[in-house]
């Protein structure tokens, strides 16, 4: 089996299973490919959870920003302004320093069969703290996208909804929301790609890689420092990221086709050249 030993030792190293010590001398290509791939688990974990949770929050934010009531609109505006106007890197640092200062408390959660103690010190760990920052960050960016789409919903659609006597929640669910999604989806695909790339920042900001459990770029830098040869680990990271980016484009493209399935012709195809600007 190709890289069998390396796979056994380091396949799940980023989660803390397998060999405890990272390879030091005689680093093989197998070690590098497997360990960096193992780190990719974290990138995917952060990206999927932050995106899924952020989706709902960002729709809520977009609707709040569109609200005529200042009490709803202003906080949403400020939230988006703060998270879009400042660098993610600084947000990570700030959040980490804030989480460290939290008092160490534990809460017991009764989940029926098992009991879980939720502790505030989890926030100072990457898996929860960084996830929270990424979630808030992507929510702000996506909220801006959805807000833009919400404002571009054709007037005729809204008038048609009025003519059918739809109001409130029903009008939103049946008319506004689907059109908003359809309009925002190409930009949202772009945001998903950006968020996935942004996950590499986690272990380079304050969040410690506890027991050297890090993400793909963390291990790549480890190898580059060890071997002093950047031409192997970084291209490996690059290939992994290009592959996952292509997967994101494929999945979001499928969703896009579904969102546009009632429309005729070419418009259903997602733009091959995604806009890179966040």
């Amino acid at each position: 089996m190709i890289c069998g030993e390396a796979l056994q030792n380091y396949g799940l190293r980023s989660l803390g299973f397998g060999e405890r010590l990272l390879p030091r001398a005689d680093i093989t290509l197998c070690d590098q490919v497997v360990l960096i791939g193992s780190g990719l688990i974290w990138n995917v974990y952060f990206a999927i959870l932050a995106l899924c949770l952020g989706f709902f929050f960002s729709v809520a934010l977009a609707v709040a920003r569109n609200s005529p009531r200042a009490l709803l609109r202003k906080p949403a505006d400020w939230f988006v302004f703060v998270f879009r106007g400042s660098p993610l890197f600084i947000q990570f640092f700030l959040a980490y320093e804030a989480f460290v200062l939290l008092p160490r408390l534990g809460f017991d959660l009764d989940l029926g069969s098992m009991e879980l103690t939720v502790e505030t010190r989890w926030l100072a760990r990457a898996w929860l703290g960084a996830l929270l920052v990424l979630f808030l960050n992507t929510s702000a960016y996506a909220a801006q996208i959805f807000y833009g789409a919400l404002q571009s919903v054709p007037k005729g659609d809204l008038e048609a909804a009025d003519a059918y006597g739809m109001t409130g929640w029903k009008r939103f669910r049946r008319v506004v929301f689907p059109t908003m999604m359809r309009l925002a989806w190409p930009a949202y695909t772009n945001e998903a790609i950006f968020l996935f790339h942004a996950t590499t920042l986690v272990f380079f900001s304050s969040f410690p890689a506890f027991q050297q459990k890090g993400d793909a770029l963390y291990y790549a830098q480890y190898f580059a420092d060890r071997t002093f040869n950047p031409f192997v680990p970084y291209p490996i990271v690059a290939i992994y990221f290009v592959l996952v980016t292509l997967c994101i484009i494929a999945v979001f493209g499928a969703v896009n086709r579904r969102l546009n399935r009632h429309l005729p012709g070419e418009r259903t195809r997602i733009r091959y050249r995604p806009n890179l600007i966040r």
Partner: protein, 292 residues
């Protein structure tokens, strides 16, 4: 700085803060803000030049030049920029040393890569270990600027390619009809007209560039993040100005700095867009004409 700062331990309240915020290390912290601005001032034009060169390369009739332009512009789409930052800094450093090694000491027989080491002859070390601290810092900064320019050049190139495509086809056809060569049409028709289409994209790249400046910290530069961590860490009473862990407040300060910076940029760029759209055959230009 102030006369009453002679004995910090006797100070209290506002005076303590006035002295604390004007002591020597804090001036280094304030200087690092200038480093950020300098980075932006140098990187922005360089990246634009790189981007323009790459965008022109993608339109070249020579295939290798075109391929190079396409690969360069495509690379930032799938790969995180931090990976590039970490990669190029080492590559540039090793590349420069390797080139100098070949020039300065051609008789050197030992291999350069010995296992986990990269050993060039002492004369090829860049910068020389005997050179003053200032040279080391300047060299590192220059490497960082170049790295930023490479990465953001690719971003700019993507925008400029789109802008070049957005210039109406009829304009280029008219240029051909007037008997202009490809080169003439490019410089006289395409380039002057593309900027208004490029401006929204370039403003976005500028925003991303501002928000990427804290990453200087990762490249080993003593930038604002470095000093915020350094100064914010708790100080025992051995120091002149003892205080608990204030890193949270320092980072909050940086956050406010960036928020203000991006907000001001946004306003300035919006004005610039309005100005440039004036008299252009675009929706914004038409709106300006109707309003007048």
């Amino acid at each position: 700085m102030f006369a009453f700062c002679e004995d910090p331990s006797a100070l209290e309240g506002a005076r303590w803060f006035a002295c604390y915020l004007t002591n020597g290390v804090h001036f280094k912290f304030y200087q690092s803000f200038l480093v950020v601005l300098l980075l932006l001032a140098v990187t922005a034009p360089t990246a634009l030049a790189f981007g323009f060169a790459a965008a022109s390369a993608t339109r070249s009739r020579i295939p290798p030049v075109r391929w190079f332009g396409n690969i360069y512009t495509a690379m930032v789409r799938g790969i995180p920029d931090i990976a590039f930052f970490l990669f190029f800094v080492i590559v540039l450093d090793q590349g420069i040393e390797y080139l100098r090694h070949n020039i300065v000491c051609p008789d050197w027989t030992d291999p350069i890569r010995q296992g986990a080491n990269f050993i060039v002859c002492p004369a090829a070390r860049t910068p020389q270990s005997s050179s003053p601290q200032f040279v080391h810092e300047a060299y590192n900064f220059a490497l960082a600027v170049f790295t930023y320019a490479i990465v953001f050049g690719a971003f700019c190139a993507n925008v400029l390619i789109g802008a070049m495509r957005a210039v109406p086809r009829a304009q280029m056809e008219t240029a051909e009809a007037y008997g202009m060569t490809r080169r003439q049409a490019f410089w006289r028709i395409l380039v002057p007209q593309m900027w208004v289409y490029a401006l929204p994209g370039l403003s976005n790249v500028w925003m991303i560039l501002i928000k990427a400046t804290p990453l200087l910290f990762l490249l080993g530069i003593e930038d604002i993040v470095y000093w915020a961590r350094e100064l914010g860490g708790s100080r025992t009473s051995q120091y002149a100005y003892p205080h608990p862990d204030w890193r949270l407040w320092y980072f909050l300060g940086l956050l406010v700095f960036y928020l203000a910076f991006t907000r001001v940029s946004e306003i300035v760029l919006a004005r610039l867009t309005r100005r440039l759209s004036h008299g252009q055959a675009t929706a914004a230009g038409e709106q300006a004409r109707r309003a007048a």
